[in-house]
């Protein structure tokens, strides 16, 4: 079949070249659709369901909202698990679906369930799904602040409320229109509200209750439409406007009567603009600000959407009042550009190097160009494939591409064709006739196609284990493996078809195969060297074995890291304060923190989100602030090449001196991923499930102390759930009865007085603002004053403390649930002991010594689970892959012996990689691991090409010794070429220091080092081994 394809390609060569144009066309079209990002998206398929419940405490939020919503989600198809948190004023349920579930399908399912829920939830509460975004979604952030010294038109200073109004009604509606934007999330400032603040004493005097005010406001604030009338043939629409517009309007609403005199709102209350009870704030360079975060729809091109958002943002500036300064503080475009530049630069430089090498070694510019042409065409096909497979272009997916590897197959074919054509021309003593030329090309191609096909097949096969990685590792490395496999397959198809066709067309004239000086020199050295080596077979083999052993030991001494972390160029840090810290207090502490950070010379901007934004994509309590530190370009640093780690250490040192803050340093995108994935990040997690919070906590504490007692346990801790101070107003039922009061009277008084109650909206054109009844600030803040808050009774009043107990007590700060049940997690890490035995020990101990009440149970989780499943998978995938490779080799040679000879090359190839890592002082990482994988493929490919030829020669000449030497010398050029192009193609990657280079450097280093050792192996050890093995057989 392969022969037929090659024959067809050569005969229909012009058709094929036309097809190439089509491929380029499709590739260009696909390129427009290729999502480009800095890093692969590792977010799982999840939907957040947020329910805002103003005033609800964690307990109420859980009981009234979280529980019914979770229950409604039971039995969703493809549901993986649910987890939830209930906090002050918010219930958030995260529904995680199985990998590969369509997000829109999942959202539809949830939407259906939520629709049936409406009647179960307290009125006025609407569960909403979070934006359709992933961890890469936050692509553009901007802040609004008052211009320096600017005043509002009426001469008053610019308030956070005015800034928020501009954000809500000018900036946000316009930015939300940008294609690809799914949400513009606001944090900071104050939502403008109209507040009616009743004076309790005046209400008593007028014998009115707060509910009277509310009723009056609700029933005096509406427009009514009344159809139309026809008047002398003209149609008149009828309407009766009655909406309240100004503060004066509100003040003049009639609340009741005293005698015959109407009592107005202003007689019993103050009316003014007031601040909402906000859950989040934003700061920038040490000052409060209003911040907007543009979130991108899943699967969009972040670079493009960020750029469009920025463009729109610049346009919006013109429509803003002149006292507002709007500034973009984070733009993903710059990071993506930097990362993509790194990749592009590497690929371009690699491609150039490859072309130069080809030209130098082939000595034929046309042949070199034909080979090099494979690079762009294969790239176009790869891009098409990536778009089809939904893989985004990023550091990881493009990082492992090596044009050297891609052209390997083509190099072998082109080299053989030229050699054959050249020989044929020499024999004929002139230019070949067309038919003879075509025949020569066909034969030359078919001669080497098999080994090169098998080689590519093997390289593809070794990538298979990567596809079995699951979870975060899988998400990181699947795109890489997919891209490489697509590229290799494309290159394979091209070398079967387009390459022979192109040779047939373009290599018509006299072929000047000047064996270049390099090759001639190499051959001159190689022949004696090989002959020498063949004399000391055993010594060479022993040396090779020694090298393998040495490198195995060396590998064990190398440090290790997981995935080399992409340096995003900026710093993010969580500033953590104790539970119960108030928002304003937290903002004050944050301002001080930012003023300290901004003084560091390398820092350009610093901004932070404190607490929860409008859309609770990241529901933080007020005591946590996500702080983002944007750095100046390195050229502006006092010491431009200061390592980032050192800068982070300096910042850490500076901020640690500040009172009351604890810090966790990370990077913006990384932070977001952590927030979304959010699973337990310790080695072992023991989850205690049950009903009663106190019992849960008590059991968790027992679990923790038992765990701590085990050898190997480290950093054991119990999830922080308690510790939020809470003021409880507990009604005294008996006393209340004496005054003729119901519980509800007190509860609604307390909630209206302190939390406020909405009594409609005030419209200002398009803008609408809440009208809220709430006690004046000086009353609602003061517990002593609240105690004497008059409660209206049928006969007058009674102070609140008479009918209710007010006490401040710590209460749960948050209630976490998983799969529909309350849980408290105990986490522990394991040091100096293997995880497996620790977990077994732990389970046995807990089973023996922990007594749980009925209805309480334990579950185990943590990273050990993933490790277990990963090693289980690898334990069968790796042998299968190895068997597969041996199978392919056996298929190629029809000989188990030869297959094994080639196979022994793999560990020898790896030695070079290990040495290179050791030499550059790099740790082992998954990136390096991928390099090793690629390397094994190349090693096998080289061995295959060499042995196939030797074997053929042996069959022709039936003299093993000369067949080995001759064969090896003839294959010197392709082996050197493939080795040089593959390793030089990676050189720019290995030396680059740009953004994202840290991810690619280990991979490139391993491949370069490994190819050097693998080439030496192919050139010397393989012939030796072959002769040794077959020599014995020969003698017999």
């Amino acid at each position: 079949m392969i022969d037929n394809i090659v024959r067809l390609s050569v005969e229909r060569r012009y058709l094929l070249l036309t097809l190439v144009l089509v491929i380029i066309g499709i590739g260009t079209w696909s390129y427009q659709r290729l999502p480009i990002d800095a890093v692969p998206d590792i977010t799982n398929v999840q939907v957040q369901i947020n329910t805002e419940a103003p005033g609800y405490s964690p307990l109420e939020a859980e009981q009234r909202i979280t529980f019914p919503v979770e229950t409604a989600l039971y039995g969703l198809p493809k549901l993986s698990y649910t987890r939830s948190i209930s906090r002050y004023g918010l219930s958030q349920i995260t529904v995680v679906f199985e990998e590969g579930t369509d997000i829109y399908f999942a959202r539809n399912l949830i939407d259906e369930r939520l629709a049936t829920l409406k009647s179960v939830l307290p009125p006025g509460l609407e569960p909403e799904m979070g934006p359709i975004a992933t961890g890469l979604g936050e692509i553009f952030v901007y802040t609004l602040k008052a211009k320096h010294g600017a005043k509002m038109p009426d001469g008053s200073p610019v308030t956070p409320m005015a800034l928020r109004e501009a954000q809500d009604w000018i900036v946000k509606p316009q930015l939300a229109q940008v294609p690809g934007v799914v949400e513009v999330n606001t944090i900071g400032g104050f939502d403008k509200q109209y507040h009616v603040m009743p004076d309790p004493a005046k209400l008593l005097e007028m014998k009115l209750a707060i509910t009277d005010i509310r009723e009056a406001l609700v029933s005096n604030n509406d427009n009514a439409g009344a159809g139309y009338i026809e008047n002398n043939g003209e149609q008149l629409l009828v309407r009766s406007p009655g909406q309240l517009k100004t503060i004066a309007d509100i003040e003049n609403v009639v609340v009741g009567h005293k005698g015959s005199v109407p009592v107005l709102v202003k007689d019993v209350a103050e009316v003014g603009l007031g601040k909402e009870l906000r859950t989040g704030a934003a700061t920038r360079n040490g000052k409060e600000t209003v911040m907007g975060t543009v979130m991108m729809l899943v699967g969009e091109n972040s670079r493009e959407v960020a750029a469009l958002s920025n463009e729109k943002f610049q346009q919006i500036q013109a429509s803003l009042p002149d006292w507002i300064e709007a500034e973009a503080v984070y733009n993903r475009t710059s990071l993506v550009d930097k990362a993509i530049n790194t990749v592009q630069k590497n690929l371009l430089e690699g491609a150039l190097l490859v072309i130069v090498i080809l030209f130098l070694l082939l000595g034929n510019i046309r042949a070199a160009l034909i080979t090099a042409a494979v690079i762009p065409i294969a790239m176009m096909m790869t891009i098409t494939g990536m778009v089809q497979r939904g893989v985004s272009a990023n550091l990881m997916s493009l990082g492992a591409l090596d044009f050297g590897l891609i052209v390997d197959g083509a190099v072998i074919i082109v080299e053989n064709c030229i050699r054959r054509l050249c020989e044929a021309q020499k024999q004929q003593g002139g230019i070949l006739a067309l038919q003879a030329r075509l025949q020569e090309v066909k034969e030359a191609t078919i001669e080497v196609i098999r080994p090169s096909l098998f080689g590519v097949g093997i390289i593809t096969a070794v990538y298979l284990p990567i596809f079995t990685l699951s979870g975060v590792e899988g998400k990181m490395f699947h795109p890489m493996a997919t891209t490489v496999v697509i590229a290799l397959l494309c290159a394979m198809v091209l070398s079967l078809t387009v390459v022979p066709a192109a040779i047939a067309i373009f290599m018509g004239g006299k072929i000047s195969e000047k064996e270049s000086i390099i090759i001639r020199g190499a051959k001159a050295i190689y022949r004696p060297a090989l002959e020498l080596v063949l004399k000391f077979k055993l010594l060479i083999l022993a040396g090779a074995l020694g090298l393998v052993i040495l490198c195995t030991w060396l590998a064990s001494t190398l440090g290790s890291e997981f995935v080399p972390q992409l340096d995003e160029g900026d710093i993010a840090l969580h500033a953590l304060r104790i539970t119960g810290t108030g928002l304003e207090q937290s903002v004050e502490m944050q301002e001080l923190l930012e003023k300290t950070i901004i003084n560091i010379e390398e820092v350009d901007k610093v901004y932070a989100k404190v607490g929860t934004p409008e859309v609770a994509t990241d529901p933080m309590p007020p005591n946590v602030a996500d702080t983002f530190v944007m750095l100046k370009p390195r050229s502006e640093w006092p010491v431009p090449d200061k390592p980032k780690a050192q800068l982070v250490a300096e910042i850490e040192q500076a901020v640690t001196a500040l009172p009351g803050n604890n810090y966790e340093f990370t990077q913006p995108i990384q932070m977001r991923f952590n927030e979304l994935i959010s699973g337990v990040r310790a080695d072992v997690a023991i989850k205690v499930f049950g009903d009663d919070l106190d019992t849960l906590l008590a059991s968790a504490n027992v679990v923790a102390s038992l765990t701590q007692g085990l050898p190997g346990a480290a950093d054991t801790r119990v999830e922080q759930v308690a510790g939020l101070p809470m003021l409880s107003v507990i009604p005294k039922r008996k006393v209340m009865a004496r005054y003729g009061l119901n519980i509800d009277d007190i509860q609604s008084l307390v909630s209206t007085s302190i939390g406020g109650q909405q009594a409609g909206l005030i419209y200002e054109g398009d803008r609408r603002f809440k009208l809220v009844i709430r006690l004046p600030e000086q009353l609602r803040r003061d517990i002593q004053k609240l105690k004497v808050l008059p409660v209206a009774t049928p006969n007058g009043y009674v102070p609140l403390q008479e009918v209710a107990t007010l006490e401040v007590k710590p209460a749960p700060a948050q209630i976490s649930r998983e799969n529909g049940k309350r849980r408290v997690v105990v986490t522990t890490n394991v040091r100096g002991r293997d995880l497996g035995s620790f977990v077994a020990d732990l389970q046995a101990t807990l089973r023996a010594e922990l007594e749980l009440q009925d209805g309480y149970w334990l579950e185990y989780g943590g990273t050990f689970e993933q490790l277990e499943s990963a090693s289980k998978k690898l334990s069968w995938v790796v042998p299968v892959t190895l068997a597969l490779i041996v199978g392919i080799l056996i298929l190629a040679f029809g000989s188990v012996k030869d297959a094994l000879i080639i196979f022994t090359g793999v560990p020898l190839a790896l030695t070079g990689g290990v040495l290179a890592l050791w030499f550059r002082g790099m740790p082992l990482s998954i990136s390096a691991g991928v390099g090793f994988i690629a390397l094994s493929g190349v090693a096998v490919l080289n061995g295959l090409v060499m042995l196939a030829f030797i074997k053929q020669l042996w069959r022709e000449k039936s003299d093993l010794n000369s067949a080995v030497i001759e064969g090896a010398i003839v294959r010197l050029r392709p082996v050197l070429m493939t080795a040089l192009v593959a390793s030089l193609g990676f050189v720019p990657m290995a030396l680059n220091t740009g953004t994202g280079a840290e991810v690619q450097r280990p991979l490139a280093t391993v491949v370069i080092g490994g190819i050097i050792s693998s080439t030496l192996l192919t050139l010397f050890v393989l012939p030796t081994l072959y002769q040794l093995v077959h020599g014995k057989a020969n003698k017999q």
Partner: protein, 393 residues
Amino acid sequence: MNKLFVIISLLLYLTDVYAATAGKQPHGAESKTFTNSNLTLTLRIQDTKQGAYLLAKREDPPHTLLPDSLSVILNRMGGNQEIIEFEPYESGLRSKQFIAEPHSFVATIALSSKDDSFSWEWQKHEARTEIVNAYASQAGITTTVATGGEIKQHTQVYGQLTVPPQQRAEVHARFAGIVEQLFAGIGQTVKAGEQMARVQSNDSLQAYDVKAPIAGLVISRNMNIGELTSTLPLFAIVDTSVLWAQLMIFPSQRNQVAEGKSVHIIANGRQLDSTITSIIPSPDGQPYQLALVKVMNKDGKLSPGDLVTGIVDSQQKTVPVKIENRAIQTLNNKPVVFLNEGNAYQATPVTLGLQDDNYSEVVAGLSAGQTYVVDNSFLIKADIQKSGASHAH
């Protein structure tokens, strides 16, 4: 190949172990061992339900520790010194008194044996933190010295203004007859004894004068000239120059309100000072009592029926130590204030007594002259507890 995957799976293990190194510091050590040449002494704080003891023990067996040989002085922040006395306990010594919270001190320890004496120092700190002065002032942390002073506790009550019964009068015609003349109208002020009407008696057909029984304002006039008098009063007069505020005192407020206490009546935005004249039960069986307070109303701006707020000076006491309310924070569910000495801040539990709007009496835990944190005391609490702050999503 195989090795490669072994390495990778190994990596997965290693990296995860490395990933989670950040741990919490263990709780401050509760014991300390001192060694000198051949002598080993261990001090340990033992918590019991009643309180914490300081235990001392020689670890070099043949020697037993005698109470007299050991002297321990705890120096606490703010210059307090506690001399600990010991008694034999098990194989060592135990302090006679409890060690007060917080267990944060610099202990000076001296041990005398037959021919030698040793001394050590034990710096044991908890609920304590250090903040560089520059940052503390930048963060707005201020301190002040605790002093004695007055605490004025107030109780806020509401009530209504009423006219005392003796200042209200109805003017009747003594003998039925025809009203001949009327001298007063609504809104007119009359003096006591002033002639208000002239009525001709039906019996005697003599006209007689009807006079004002009290001075005051005429608030109603029910007859006109020529009408026959009935049982209805001719006029009603009230004297509003002095009103009574009837303040409602609910059961929980009774302790704070008593006859003779001064009251500030706030009515229509004005404050009038007075005292509680008497306290009477509520007339119609309501659960509250009424405190009667005289309110002068010379200018007539107040009127009966107005609702007024009364602020009763319920308790006034001169206390030896008082602190500002802003300084009080809770740590481990106990009220504390933070002592300051240089860069160091130490939480110290306090027992609070009387409290008014601004100050609280300190019954125990702080003495006059000690420096404590007033503004932004929360920051100190946050700093002490910050190691426990974690990010829970």
